[in-house]
């Protein structure tokens, strides 16, 4: 057992799981009252449905059916137990991804399962923010390397102040301006959503999707590119001074080879960290952008659920997003060790010592 726990990836995953359990427990305690309020009204709804389906009954049979249905549903949802056990059951439900039924929101297929709603919108969120992360990384590398090449140049100096200015702008406000200017004043882009209605078929469907993706993507990339580029610049400037780069240069290794085989290879773990952290931060920090553009992702689900005050959906999305966040962080830690053998070696040495 001790040997097994010395195996870092396992320890990291277990630690992540433990943190998730704790977070879910905390959520369950804080939101127990509101969660049960909607659960109770859903039980009432279900009882009414059962009674209506049972047709005409004698008063005594009616009361008996009512009582037995209530009892059955309450014990199924553990509503008849003590507070502590209810909180634990709620937490256990969330941990096993049983987020329950929404109060009113329905998925495209008409279901009210919160998990169904989440899985329906998750690909859209990943599409938007995944393509943002890739674009920011690609363009940020170019801009950051250019700035690092000419230190003190216009680009370099601009890069040191631009992220600070852009940090002050609410991204969703920029989204509103972009929508107003580029979708309504100049109708270049669609006014929101993910697809035209009716959606075109075949290959044109893909283009239609890209056309809808373009404006929110443009806003996100334009805002987040510069901070990433500045980090790349700082990273590269630090690496260029390192002994192995200087050694390579003195050996007469060509510049492009230094850039790709030495500088970028050395920067890989840090770049990965920046990419994943940027993606996670963007998903949770820029979720309002989705609401502004009507992009049917997780962020938009918050928008709709807040407007309809659909508590089960809100709680489900929150738990799910916390889970995604943790998966990202743990995955990042594990991937980091694959890319940077020095970390694993240090750990191993530490475990032996």
């Amino acid at each position: 057992m001790k040997d097994l726990l010395a195996y870092y990836p396992l320890r990291r995953v277990l630690h992540g799981l433990a943190m998730y359990v704790l977070l879910v427990l905390a959520l369950s305690v804080v939101f127990n009252q509101v969660a049960e309020k909607s659960l109770r009204s859903q039980v009432d709804e279900e009882v009414v449905r059962v009674l209506r389906l049972s047709g005409n009954l004698e008063p005594a049979a009616f009361d008996a059916l009512k009582a037995s249905t209530y009892g059955e549903l309450k014990s199924r949802y553990h509503l008849d137990e003590s507070w502590a056990s209810r909180v634990l059951w709620r937490a256990a439900d969330v941990l096993s991804f049983r987020f329950g039924q929404s109060d009113s929101l329905k998925s495209a297929s008409g279901e009210r399962s919160v998990l169904g709603l989440l899985l329906e919108v998750l690909p859209n969120t990943l599409l938007l923010f995944g393509s943002e992360a890739i674009l920011v990384m690609a363009l940020g590398l170019v801009v950051g390397l250019l700035a690092a090449r000419r230190r003190g140049g216009i680009l370099d100096r601009g890069l040191s102040v631009l992220p600070m200015f852009l940090n002050g702008f609410p991204p969703w406000w920029i989204g509103m301006l972009a929508l107003m200017a580029l979708a309504y004043a100049l109708p270049l882009f669609p006014s929101g959503g993910i697809q035209s209605n009716p959606a075109p078929a075949g290959l044109r469907r893909g283009f239609d999707l890209l056309w809808h993706l373009a404006l929110p993507l443009l806003v996100l990339v334009a805002l987040n590119l510069w901070g990433f580029a500045l980090q790349v610049r700082n990273l590269v400037v630090g690496l260029v001074e390192s002994p192995w780069i200087r050694a390579a240069r003195s050996r007469g290794v060509p510049e492009t080879s230094i850039l790709f085989r030495h500088v970028l290879a050395g920067a890989r773990p840090a770049l990965l960290t920046m990419l994943v952290m940027g993606l996670l931060q963007s998903i949770s920090g820029n979720l309002l952008i989705e609401g502004i553009f009507g992009w049917p992702g997780i962020g938009n689900l918050y928008f709709i659920a807040v407007q309809q005050s659909d508590v089960p959906v809100l709680l489900g999305v929150l738990a799910f997003q916390t889970f995604l966040n943790l998966v990202g962080l743990v995955g990042l830690d594990l991937a980091y060790r694959l890319l940077d053998p020095r970390v694993a070696a240090r750990d191993l040495a530490g475990a032996r010592a």
Partner: protein
């Protein structure tokens, strides 16, 4: 302190914040609607203003047909024509052209009187024909005259007819208000509110919330970090675990759900923010405190027999404070952004006016679709400017403790 004044960004930030503070403090005196703070959501307070009109400075040679000023036209003496039974009909004619335009004016008609007031309103169109606009029996009391509004009226004259009945006092002359087609420094929104006034009112809440929350959160973070670093042992471990717990929560989603479920006021938002934001200062300060703990002068302090808490708060805290101040300034933009983010969802505190709430109203009431740019630009710009001012200030303060930067 000298180093601060040598940094251009620090001075720029300070100047910007000074300006904001001045406008925030004295702006309500200059703003055209001084009582707006308590009447922001009071429809009748704004009823005589024009709805959704652009700022006054947009009026230029290219659109001089737009009328700037609101005009109040009194009816003067009416034409009287006798009816059966001693009653008579009183007709007032208001020229719709006192300020040079006859097309598309929003009109507000104020009708004083007492009790029931039958009234007939018509408009004499450009072709000379008269069309009826309203035929109503209004209930009026002396204190509160009746108001009728007519959106986008085209015509030459507004014709108002009331009736004089023997035995009751003759009807008083009505008053016509022609709201301007441009208004003020920043125009108005669809609820007829003056946007400049809203912007000025928003300053105090942005500054108050930003400064208060960042001060308390950063101080909490610093004290916990020093406590953890200087105590060590299980306290250290516990505080670090608590830090990890809170830092794993995605802040915006948590704030949204907590606000949606518990419907907080500005003060509960501040309390919630406190719960999450202390982590931002904790980690860097903790790392620095660990370093400072090993410095020679701490060892020296130990050797002369000072207590652990004396060393923590007399030696370590003062060394970290300048750093803390720069974190404070740098964390203000985030706090203001989070408040605005919560407000855009419609979860803002409805007893105050914040820029985020103005943007929520704008978005919810179609400012984007109708391209009411004067409603969307100013609040967002103010959020940005305030954030940038604090960032600049924070950079200047960074110079104080790290002159290399």
């Amino acid at each position: 302190m000298n180093r601060f004044f040598h940094s251009r960004s620090g001075v720029a930030g300070l100047v910007l914040l000074g300006l904001l503070g001045l406008v925030g403090a004295f702006g309500p005196l200059l703003a055209p609607y001084p009582e707006a703070a308590s009447h922001w959501r009071d429809i009748s307070y704004w009823q005589d203003s024009p709805a959704a009109v652009p700022p006054a400075w947009t009026r230029g040679p290219w659109n001089s047909s737009r009328v700037a000023a609101s005009a109040r036209v009194s009816g003067g003496s009416p034409e009287e024509s006798a009816m059966e039974g001693g009653a008579s009909k009183l007709t007032w004619r208001f020229s719709l052209n006192p300020l040079g335009t006859t097309t598309g004016r929003d009109l507000v008609l104020v009708l004083p009187g007492e009790g029931q007031l039958p009234v007939l309103v018509g408009v004499k169109a450009l072709d000379g024909n008269e069309h009826e606009l309203a035929r109503k029996i209004l209930r009026v009391s002396g204190a509160e005259p009746a108001r009728l509004s007519f959106p986008a009226v085209v015509g030459r004259e507004l014709v108002v007819t009331e009736y004089k009945v023997p035995g009751s006092p003759p009807p008083e002359s009505p008053l016509l208000i022609l709201p301007g087609q441009v208004s003020g420094l920043m125009g108005t929104d669809v609820a007829k509110r003056d946007i400049f006034t809203g912007i000025v009112l928003g300053i105090r809440w942005a500054l108050l919330l930003g400064v208060l929350v960042s001060f308390i959160t950063v101080m909490t973070g610093i004290i916990l970090a020093i406590g953890a670093a200087c105590t060590g042992g299980w306290v250290d471990l516990l505080i670090n675990r608590i830090y990890e717990f809170f830092s794993l929560m995605p802040i915006l989603p948590f704030l949204i759900v907590l606000s949606a479920v518990f419907k907080p006021s500005l003060w509960t938002f501040a309390a919630l923010a406190l719960l999450f934001f202390w982590t931002k200062a904790f980690k860097p300060v903790y790392a620095m405190a660990l370093q400072i703990r090993e410095e020679g002068y701490i060892e020296a302090g130990k050797s002369i027999g000072t207590s652990r808490w004396y060393r923590a708060f007399k030696y370590v805290l003062p060394a970290l404070l300048p750093y803390g101040f720069s974190i404070m300034a740098l964390s203000v933009p985030g706090i203001i952004l989070y408040e605005a983010g919560i407000s855009i969802l419609g979860l803002g505190d409805s007893t105050v006016v914040t820029w985020g709430q103005m943007l929520h109203d704008a978005f919810a009431q179609g400012a984007v679709i109708n391209r009411l740019w004067w409603w969307i630009l100013p609040p967002g710009l103010m959020i940005s400017i305030t954030g940038i001012a604090f960032s600049l200030l924070g950079r200047g303060l960074e110079r104080v403790w790290d002159p290399r930067g």
